[in-house]
């Protein structure tokens, strides 16, 4: 069972190691126009990208932190102490053998690609700022699927990516999307041609290896008419003494009849600020589905969204958050209905352990004169300890007749009867608790691809250790 154990071994303790830094390119500490220009120079950005970055910087500096509604913990981020760009100075590798040994060791310890390579269609792993290894199975490449890093995508396929780049999430969407627009590097650019159904998931792993480093990857996925693609990302970082920032922007475009499924298992170390903007546009009959699992980080603020722009478009967010001591998982979903007969579904499950805090924040918007739009939202929160905290803050706007929106949320704890029953069947209290929690998320986890659901269950078990008694 070598394969399976490697697949489930992605947990924080295993990710908690780092290699000596040997970065060829280093933009230094702090953020200024100089930093942004440096990144542009290294990446040989075309002029429009340079300008885009500078506009991002300007917007970032102008916008205040959103602390009037969000956690005051954001004030703990010292933007002057962050390193915005590091790279080993190598181009993305095409085969596993070309990847430097020490970096390869990192990924092997994470238990990721080599064993799964046979299964996964393409893997791109990002180490600090740049993708160090990417591989797309020949078959996928032959189908015309483009799967490259953001730099390469903008440089070699501007006719495809420029049209949508920064359009789903504009620079000024929020302070952190502006920051990402200024300093982005890495991330995946994917284009799936019309009618192509990518059978196996495309996959990326992100890792922060350097202290004080901020990671700002940018991902853009375009699924052309009638195509289908699944993308999975995982992230880890070793625990450094000072807080680290991860601020990504992910844009998805599902054209007529296309389907995009985007899966994230986020397991950053518990001092990473994870402030990510994710949004998809679904055209007529298209479907965008976010599956979002947040296990790690100190503060996560992430509300994947879908704009249903075409008739009969569908949007879905399935979210699992686990907040342990010192963690605040502020997650949720945004559903913007912009055409008739669009449907959206949000299912969120959160678990708060110890002093952990899980927050659901949601937005559902059904504007005027639309007909037969439907939204269903369910949020369930589970509290494990007396010191755990959970919040729910949805905002729902409905205009006009002919639409149906429902929201439901509940908060509960593990039933003592259930625990008692399992204990008298010979399980320890901790085992019973863990089983109970897995049961709580089970119906959601079942919808995940197999290897992710196994990984997630293991992660939950590990997090539950020592939380009882």
């Amino acid at each position: 069972m070598k394969t399976e154990t490697s697949a489930v071994n992605i947990n924080r303790s295993i990710g908690d190691f780092s290699y000596p830094e040997a970065h060829v390119r280093d933009a230094g500490t702090g953020l200024s126009e100089r930093t942004v220009r440096y990144i542009s120079d290294v990446k040989e950005d075309p002029d429009w990208v340079r300008e885009f970055r500078l506009r991002g910087l300007k917007t970032f500096l102008e916008k205040p932190l959103p602390t009037h509604w969000a956690s005051k913990d954001l004030e703990a981020i010292d933007f002057d102490k962050i390193r915005y760009y590091l790279s080993p100075g190598t181009e993305a590798k095409r085969s596993w053998d070309e990847v430097p040994d020490d970096i390869k060791r990192t990924f092997e310890r994470l238990g990721i690609p080599e064993q799964e390579r046979k299964f996964l269609a393409g893997v791109e792993a990002q180490f600090d700022s740049e993708a160090v290894y990417s591989n797309i199975k020949k078959a996928v490449g032959e189908q015309g699927v483009i799967f490259v890093g953001s730099t390469e995508g903008l440089k070699h396929y501007p006719e495809i990516f420029r049209k949508w780049f920064g359009k789903v999430i504009p620079i000024a969407d929020n302070k952190f999307s502006a920051l990402n627009s200024a300093v982005f590097s890495g991330g995946s650019f994917i284009y799936v041609p019309p009618g192509v159904k990518v059978k196996h998931p495309l996959q990326a792993y992100f890792r922060i290896n350097a202290e004080n480093f901020g990671q700002f990857e940018r991902t853009l996925i375009i699924a052309d008419e009638g195509s289908e693609v699944t993308y999975m990302e995982g992230c880890t970082a070793p625990k450094f003494n000072t807080p680290t920032l991860h601020s990504a922007v992910v844009e998805l475009v599902a054209l007529k009849g296309a389907k995009i499924q985007y899966i994230t298992v986020q397991n950053w170390a518990s001092n990473v600020f994870n402030l990510v903007t994710k949004r998809g546009i679904a055209h007529e009959n298209a479907e965008v589905k976010w599956i979002d699992c947040n296990i790690g980080s100190r503060l996560t603020m992430k509300y994947p969204g879908v704009i249903m722009k075409g008739r009969k478009a569908r949007g879905e967010v399935l979210s699992i958050a686990l907040a342990n001591d010192g963690q605040h998982q502020d997650t949720g979903a945004k559903m913007i209905h912009a055409a008739d007969e669009t449907t959206s579904n949000i299912i969120s499950k959160s678990i708060s352990i110890g002093k952990g805090r899980a927050t659901y924040r949601g937005l559902v918007h059904v504007p005027k004169h639309l007909k037969h739009c439907k939204n269903n939202t369910e949020c369930d929160a589970l509290l494990i300890n007396a010191t755990s905290r959970t919040d729910t803050y949805p905002a729902i706007t409905v205009r006009g007749t002919g639409n149906a929106v429902q929201h439901e949320a509940s908060v509960s704890q593990v039933s003592s009867d259930q625990i008692f029953y399992m204990q008298q069947r010979g399980l320890t209290e901790a085992q019973a608790m863990s089983l109970s929690v897995n049961g709580f998320v089970n119906d959601l986890v079942r919808q995940f691809p197999m290897e992710y659901s196994v990984e997630l269950k293991r992660l939950i078990e590990l997090e539950m250790e020592g939380s009882v008694g």
């Binding site: 509290l383 149906a404 949320a409």
Partner: protein, 439 residues
């Protein structure tokens, strides 16, 4: 309803100038008022960016046109009395117009002898200074309107003080009327209700305008204090004219084994905001928060609530229903907060919007903040329209679509009113709703 009097604006001051010194209050109260005025002036005007004012049309909160009223004429006073009809039977009542006390039907000698206090504010603050000072605006306005609570405190000039002593039950409801008379007048209605241990009382407040189209401003506070084991029912029947800007701030404090039930019916006003803060401070306490709003034309109703569970073993249940027609808007922002150590909390919150037109808009923000475990909290929000099947059924029974629709809407709203479990008041409120639909 009222004949148009040739009313002159004699010496009526804009409310945004200093509060006048004309009224005779004790020094300590005057000091409180000037402090509150400073607080009002010093605090920022709410903007839509404030979480507590999200979705609110804050542009409507321009207070510049509004004035304090000069003494009303004898005619006005007579007319107000003539139209102050509510319930057939009541234990006692007070009638105010433009904050001036028009009439007071005192409680029976028997109740008085047993210790019931039912007095206008300005008298209670002198005759029962200790009791009054202990409870008067003792709970901070936490739901966004701190600035307007300060304005109320600075400008309040009358109102009702009701104290029900230990173990006493007042069978019939106590009635209070607040009227707005003339264009651009302002009122600051106040109710302070204190119940001692095991006391029981029902209070109904009516808010009405004399002039159908007159603009006006109402900024009211009602504080309900339910002592240990007490039972308090509070009903607000708000039917201001459609040009009135109304703010109402409620706080309800529920001690151990006490229960409080409040029902707020909102029919009138251009912009009507209602903040309700329910604090459960003792084990076994229970609070029911009910509200119905019927929004038509360009009306905007804005409800903000907080069910604050401070003590373990407490329960709260909120049910708000809105029916929206034309270009009306409603906003509901509610929060259940379970404080640390408030274990075994049982809390519910439900808001349902019925949209009857394509231009209406319903915003819902049902929230939860849970800092304890062993709790059962659920909330739900739905927005939808009339079920076509139900309408079809009614039509197949010979009921015209228009009447069928009204039946279904009132049926939808009646669920809330039935929770009150008081048939007389229930019928009365139902009649008000019917009247609004008929208009």
């Amino acid at each position: 309803m009222f004949s148009v009097a040739n009313h002159e604006l004699v010496k009526s001051a804009p409310i945004l100038s200093e509060p006048s010194d004309l009224r005779e209050f004790p020094d300590w109260f005057r000091d409180q008022q000037s402090a509150a005025w400073k607080e009002f002036e010093g605090s920022p005007t709410p903007t839509r960016k404030d979480q507590a004012w999200r979705f609110s049309n804050v542009a409507l909160l321009d207070l510049a046109p509004f004035r304090t009223s000069p003494p009303l004429s004898e005619d006005d006073r007579k007319n107000v009395l003539k139209y102050s009809r509510g319930l057939d039977k009541y234990a006692a009542r007070m009638v105010f117009a433009n904050d001036q006390l028009i009439e007071r039907d005192v409680v029976s000698e028997d109740l008085k002898r047993r210790g019931v206090i039912f007095q206008p504010l300005e008298r209670a603050m002198v005759e029962h200074a200790d009791l009054f000072r202990k409870y008067f605006m003792s709970t901070e306005a936490r739901l966004g309107s701190a600035k307007f609570a300060a304005l109320h405190k600075a400008l309040v000039s009358s109102g009702t003080f009701l104290f029900v002593p230990r173990g006493l039950e007042i069978k019939e409801p106590i009635e209070i009327f607040h009227w707005l008379r003339h264009e651009n007048m302002s009122v600051f209605p106040h109710l302070l209700l204190v119940t001692d241990e095991l006391a029981k009382v029902t209070v109904i407040e009516h808010f009405r305008s004399c002039d159908q189209h007159a603009a006006g401003f109402a900024c009211g506070v009602n504080d309900l204090i339910a002592g240990p084991g007490a039972k308090v029912n509070y009903v607000c029947a708000q039917n201001w004219a459609e040009n009135v800007i109304a703010l109402q701030m409620n706080s309800t404090t529920v001690d151990h084994d006490a229960s409080a039930m409040s029902l707020n019916l909102h029919l009138g006003g251009k912009y009507s905001r209602f903040e309700s803060l329910s604090r459960l401070i003792g084990e076994g306490g229970r609070s029911d928060l009910l509200a119905v709003a019927v929004a038509k034309h360009q009306q905007e109703f804005d409800a903000r609530t907080l069910q604050d569970h401070i003590s373990p073993h407490t329960a709260s249940d909120l049910l708000y229903k809105n029916a929206l027609d034309d270009r009306a808007r409603t906003t509901f922002g509610g929060l259940i907060r379970v404080e640390p150590h408030a274990h075994f909390t049982d809390a519910y919150q439900k808001v349902r919007n019925l949209l009857l037109s394509d231009d209406s808009e319903a915003n819902s923000m049902p929230g939860l903040e849970i800092l304890a475990d062993n709790v059962r909290c659920t909330h739900g929000a739905t927005s939808g329209q009339i079920d076509e099947d139900q309408l079809f059924y009614l039509r197949s029974r010979g009921i015209p679509a228009k009447i069928g629709q009204r039946l279904l809407v009132t049926g939808f709203l009646d669920e809330v009113i039935q929770r009150l479990n008081h048939s007389v008041i229930g019928d009365y409120l139902h009649g008000m709703i019917e009247e609004k639909f008929a208009a």
